[in-house]
Symmetry: C2
Subunit: 368 residues, 2 copies
């Protein structure tokens, strides 16, 4: 086994979830990530935890099996697999790994059926989120193919992004977290195409150093719902339900998206925005800080953490980001989109520059 | 996909477990049986049942992961994975498939650790047995190798044994079931080496037509515990914990094994008999009736159903076989061993021959 797989497992078990003797663990991995499962189980054995394995990919099983089920059941009345809630109710920690054999395996399932399936699994998902949990990626040939990379090159990319000094990363990010939590207004400018302001007053910035996502590496919060004003060109592609939306453009007035377009698959962007009332408002502002993620790989678990980027998500806000006096944007969707901030760009907080062309004020001491 | 895999799935879902719309199902399959999982999920989708997939092989996960866990945890204090009981408690039906990539995957785990693992999973197993359940085999190259067969030859063997007219098989076996339930004493003779009598008075013969095992094809009951008298040479090999015991010989007095030997691995046989008090008494007498199983494959799920054989198990008796006025043989083990009855052999019930050289009395009308 590649020694980086055991290191990956140690990061998940010891850093992300801090599993202790006797704790009840669910390891949810697709067959393609069996090596990672083996390494996780070895570590859990050393600790004396109690693992059970779900065959991951989806809440009910492997991608191929789930596709077969969804094509057979059809329609929009999919029964809730509620017996799995009994498992999660007694579970302390859930470790989930993505690992595809074919990233388009469910490409011929009707979108309405996919949406119904997502609703059916909502209670189980909610029960899962009540445990300590972490989501990660195992590098398969199919995931490398989606990234346009060789398998070995993709393995290097994934494990470089994961095998980091997370304590140091946490400290690095804490400086930005503190600045956001003290601030009120964020102003983001990139080239001629992005110029947007939003209030974060009273909301909470979160330091993502690997508690729920591995790789980690972002600082994120929620904008005050009706405060977003201006326009954004998301110049990194949006990859949503198998379709690539290039150069998505959103214009905001009092928080609401009042205009949009895109160079490709504009109708996909429109469908996202039309999901419900909340999907026309931002639920998240995130700033990527993981500089080992130095390329776009069509995988949001990595892309949103990319160094020198910001991302904004239309739809649902995370409750942990919303202060008690502020409203939470609610939506069935949460779709992240990314702006490259490496050149001709800046982030200001209350009129002070905190990042210029990807470099933070505390890195080279430029005047804020 | 081989069309026989979908037929296999239909037998499991429609015949063995009779799954209905809305029922909660756990599909427990190793990665090597993913095709079968896909076919089962398709059928469950057509029905509108609710599947969840456990990555089978063991109660906690894949064989490789379980091996890693057990070698890391060591010793005989393995914590119970009791959170999985919450899943099984709400489950209507469990479909389990065996499918190995390497049948000796756990060959370097200490026997004491394996035994401790088995005890740790006892509560979960017991909860599983309270559901409707079926156990089956998916034909992998490794399982073919254990059988000494080509993969294609083994696939033919497995699916021939499974794709049968189970209603007709049930009727065929019912004649033997009735005869055993009316009878009191069974006398089994094979060549010069096997001559054993036992009482079955008051106990119950069960018609195995595929409710819990697929393939099915046996009639089985429990001997009255202290009634077994005589000697048996089990001339089909016993394959136990990776070791092959050839020509196991047992001599019984008042039900108890008072002498034993074997041509190979006699100490393995001794370990089985020394498990506990109940492991020196018979818990089961079975008569194989599936004539598509025409060869020994080192897999008890098939071997015990082989046409023209009988098998006896030392150890635990199945409660369903024991009449209310009789005692149940209790033991932590249950090890089946097989006698070939194809030649120079007969089974008598209360002095009447019911099978001679593998042929039943109702098949050719010989005098009983």
């Amino acid at each position: 086994m590649d020694p980086r797989i055991r290191r990956h497992a140690d990061v998940l078990v010891d850093h992300s979830t801090e599993i202790e003797a006797g704790e009840r663990v669910v390891v949810s991995v697709p067959p393609a990530a069996e090596d990672l499962a083996v390494a996780i189980y070895e570590r859990l054995g050393e600790i004396g935890a109690r693992p059970v394995m779900l065959s991951g990919g989806t809440p009910i099983g492997s991608d191929r099996a789930t596709r077969g089920y969804l094509r057979a059941i059809e329609g929009d009345a999919i029964p809730d697999p509620d017996h799995v809630e009994g498992l999660f109710a007694d579970t302390d920690v859930i470790i989930r790994a993505r690992a595809n054999e074919n990233v388009t395996e469910k490409g011929d399932v009707e979108p309405a059926t996919m949406a119904a399936f997502s609703r059916a699994a909502e209670a189980a998902r909610s029960e899962m989120l009540d445990s300590r949990w972490v989501l990660t990626q195992f590098p398969t040939p199919a995931n490398a193919q989606l990234a346009g990379m060789s398998t070995e090159g993709y393995e290097n990319f994934v494990w470089d992004a994961i095998d980091k000094d997370w304590a140091a990363q946490r400290e690095f990010q804490a400086q930005l977290v503190d600045r956001l939590n003290e601030g009120s207004e964020v102003h983001i400018v990139s080239g001629e195409t992005t110029d947007v302001t939003m209030s974060i007053a009273g909301n909470v910035a979160i330091n993502d150093y690997g508690r729920h996502n591995m790789p980690a590496g972002e600082v994120f919060t929620a904008p005050v719902v009706d405060s977003v004003q201006g326009e954004v060109l998301f110049d990194k592609p949006l990859y949503h339900q198998g379709r690539e939306v290039e150069n998505a453009y959103l214009a905001f007035e009092e928080g609401e998206v009042v205009d949009y377009d895109a160079d490709t698959n504009e109708e996909t962007l429109g469908e996202v925005l039309d999901t419900d009332d909340g999907s026309r408002y931002l639920g998240e502002l995130g700033i990527g800080t993981n500089r080992d993620i130095d390329r776009f790989t069509y995988n949001m678990l990595f892309d949103e953490k990319m160094g020198d980027t910001v991302h904004m998500a239309v739809g649902m806000a995370y409750e942990e980001c919303v202060g008690e006096d502020n409203a939470t944007n609610e939506s069935a969707t949460h779709v992240d989109m990314i702006v490259d901030m490496a050149e001709d760009s800046r982030i200001e907080v209350d009129g002070e520059v905190v990042q210029r062309n990807g470099t933070f004020w505390f890195e080279n001491g430029f005047e804020g």
